[in-house]
Amino acid sequence: MHAISIRGVTKRFPGVVALDDVSLDIERGELHSICGENGAGKSTLMKVLSGVLTEFEGQLWVGGRLARFRGTRDAESAGISIIHQELNLVDQLSVAANVFLGREPTRFGMLAERRMEDATRELLAELECGFDARCRAGELRVGDQQLIEIAKAVSLRSDILIMDEPTSALTEAEVERLVRVIERLRGRGVTILYISHKMDEVFRLSDRITVLRDGRWVATKRRSETSPREITHLMVGRDIESASESGRTLGDVVLEVRGLSLPWPGHARGWRLRDIGFQLRRGEILGIAGLMGAGRTELLECLFGAGPEPPRGQILLNDRTVRFRHPSEARRAGIAMVTEDRKRLGLFPRMTVGENITICNLREAARATVLSRRREASMARDTVDRLAVRTPSIGAPITALSGGNQQKCLIGRWLLTKPQVLLLDDPTRGVDVGAKAELYRLMDQLCRERIGILLTSSELPELLTVCDRILVLSEGRMTAEFARGEATEQAIMEAATRGAGPT
């Protein structure tokens, strides 16, 4: 008997068939990965399985019984829990309160706090969590918050656990811990459905791998019988060439940083960044590696004048000292930054594709502050054409685009300001494989146009393929610098976890 049988499931949204006659069996106790590009229907399928979407065509069998979920509660009582990519926690409540949210144990009609905390502590110990049940959820790091959700699923005694891109915000160390937790859950016979873009994880963990494309089932393969290359090929429907760095030549130093420090008052470490120094040349891609919290984003924000306070030390742009108090000053000087969290820090969700592209450069489309529609539209259209953004029109809402195309719009927004230095903060996060390759090609092309690029990424393989040099940050300090060819994942991880030592 299968843990889950999906029989001919079709789900239509207005104008889109998100799932098209998908049939799939999940065996009891296996770890089954679901792969596919953004928009392939992975998340829709998971929403059907977890009772988030209740209306669809086709049948769903769970544990040999036909399931008709009317909500997530029904799915939970059938033993299915889901850990969403965007976590569903109440930041203001304690860990224990979050684990028991909606099913709090009571005693004489009052909350049984002690019982919740004890039960939660037991769960946390089992999951190797280094935090207490009384911590507020909002104070924890993303990786720890995710473990709260897992603890919740464990406490529900779910025998089927769905994980939707669980590692997209985790550091390498946290990924390792998650892998250990997954192994332990599997030891208890829990069936796991694992959704991920990351081939190395998929191939490390899975028993079987299913590929979806454009809402259709493409293939289900045993791990032992396939290769990452084949799976990627099945996902995209074509081969992906890697970015070519050959024939790029470096120019003069465009950006130099000397002794850059950013104080962190009230924190034991005292510094967010300490004594950072490096040079960036025209036509160079300089990678910045480091765990979450190592100071990657803070470093880029300092260079862009977007930090909460001005940094100490010197920043030189074309050999001239600069000091930005606001992103607008950085923009005028020729520095552009594409921020890490697209939805929160980058997009204007209520605006069109065109409006999102031109927002930084409106003055060029205006005469005496009055906008020329024609000039604005031509600016947006040029960008859409140049970056090959796939959009029905520049008047389409930005939210209708896929993650990769949204990211292209944001990069296009900044290219319109004709930057000399481009700061890219984890630009491929949440972007599918095909679009990633396009972004790498775009970076290469920009380098040939003499732009210097500073790139951070949460994925080491990405830095290793794209960058000419890689700096490693650990707890706000620079602990290593590698040239292309010298760097290996192991060497970078070693430098990224190296303690900063006494101040």
Partner: protein
């Protein structure tokens, strides 16, 4: 997609519909017509039908008054903020304008009338005095807007709190200023300042001047929002403040503009109101008007989450509110102002609920879920009964042939009908699932 198609779509980045109006704005325009037709039928004198010009002018004038400060409220809402102080700002600006008049021309204000050829005639204040007082008042509007911006951006208060403080504070300050100035100039403490100057009163009692002011402001703000760089920045700020800052937009300057426009438009309305009422009475002037302004903006399609809204929508929202209020006043001859609050409340709920219903998220939602839904059905039934009872009482008094109507019986019957209808709806929705 062909290049031509894309070009055409690209020329309209603002997603405008037919004739530049969005679909919900057309719906609102239809709703206005329905209200006008309904009111002219239900009104025993059929005022709208018998005297269309006068009725239109009256509604236009009232809409202009409301529209002026609703525009300011809309700009603030589009920028992702909220200005609760509009009503108090109207009282404060009215009082300050009167105070300036008293200080600039104490003699005329003390003895406002003189005998000419045996007739009592209002003494003129003079153009210079009025110009100075009006510009001073508008400057004060700008200063209050600046205060709001400072409280929000530099002190870090949420807009709700900052403008709540001025909502409470400015009215009390107006009263204190009024008493102090009347005491020191007239040697008689008073809670209001009378204004009789003919020019000044003409500003507001005329139909065309308030309308002209409104139209000029509407066009200016419309161009600002839709055609200028800073207008786009207002939408960006309301849509995503963090992203706006990281795009190099000076968010504090944009907020400064929004809150200044909010306060200045209220100041302009305040000046017109004291002319209209020929008195500056800080206790009653503009009381509760902040909510009318917000209601007009929201009914007109502005989103309280920011980033969405238009001048045309706000205008239609204001017009709709005024038509409903005016229509009720035509049907019930006296004391219709008692019903104004109820009407604004009901209209806002219906309009916003309707626009939510049209979105995909709102459609699948149950109207009266569970026990709470049941109690809500009872509440709405009771509310309907009370309203029907009050209305029948009025109608029985004014509509000939309707004297025999029993208000209590009608109220109970109407309430029951509403409750049974809603309960049926609840039941139907629950069985369908």
């Amino acid at each position: 997609m062909s290049a031509v198609e894309r070009d055409r779509a690209g020329d309209r980045p603002g997603r405008r519909g037919w004739l530049g109006f969005q679909p919900n704005e057309w719906l609102l325009a239809c709703a206005i017509l329905v209200v006008l037709v309904g009111a002219s039928v239900a009104d025993v004198n059929h005022t709208y039908w018998m005297n269309p010009r006068l009725s239109a002018l009256d509604i236009a004038r009232q809409t202009a008054f409301l529209g002026i400060f609703a525009l300011g409220a809309a700009v603030v809402i589009i920028a992702g903020g909220i200005d609760l102080s509009a009503g108090s700002m109207i009282a404060f600006s009215g009082t300050m304008c009167a105070t300036f008049l008293v200080l600039l021309a104490p003699e005329v204000m003390r003895n406002p009338h003189e005998l000419i050829d045996g007739k009592l005639v209002a003494r003129p204040l003079g153009a210079a005095v009025i110009t100075l007082a009006v510009s001073g008042t508008i400057l004060i509007g700008f200063l209050v807007g600046t205060l709001h911006t400072w409280l929000i951006t530099a002190v870090g208060l949420p807009p709700f709190i900052a403008t709540l403080a001025t909502l409470v504070g400015l009215r009390s300050l107006s009263r204190a200023v009024c008493e102090s100035v009347t005491q020191s100039v007239f040697q008689a403490k008073s809670t209001q300042i009378q204004i009789f100057d003919p020019t000044f009163r003409y500003l507001a009692t005329s139909v065309w001047i308030p309308m002209l002011i409104f139209v000029v402001l509407a066009v200016a703000i419309g161009v600002l929002l839709r055609r200028t760089v800073v207008g786009r920045h207002l939408y960006a700020l309301g849509g995503n403040e963090q992203a706006a800052r990281l795009s190099g937009i000076h968010t504090s300057s944009v907020k400064w503009l929004a809150y200044s426009l909010g306060a200045v438009t209220s100041a302009v309305a305040g000046i017109l109101y004291i002319g209209d009422q020929s008195v500056a009475d800080p206790q009653t002037l503009g009381r509760g008007y902040e909510l009318n302004a917000i209601a007009a903006a929201v009914v007109g399609g502005c989103s309280l989450q920011g980033g969405i809204g238009t001048v045309s929508g706000t205008f239609l929202g204001a017009l709709f509110l005024r038509c409903v209020i005016d229509g009720i006043a035509k049907i019930i001859k006296t004391g219709a102002d008692i019903y104004e609050g109820q009407i604004v409340g009901v209209v806002v709920v219906i309009a916003v609920a309707f626009s939510q219903w049209r979105t995909a998220a709102g459609r699948g939602r149950q109207a009266f879920p569970g026990v709470m839904g049941g109690v809500a059905v009872v509440t709405l039934g009771l509310l309907a009964a009370v309203l029907a009872m009050l209305m029948t009482e009025q109608i029985a008094r004014f509509v000939p042939g309707a004297q025999s109507l029993d208000p209590r019986g009608t109220g109970v019957a109407f309430g029951l009908i509403v409750a049974i209808g809603l309960a049926g709806w609840k039941f139907a929705q629950e069985t369908r699932r």
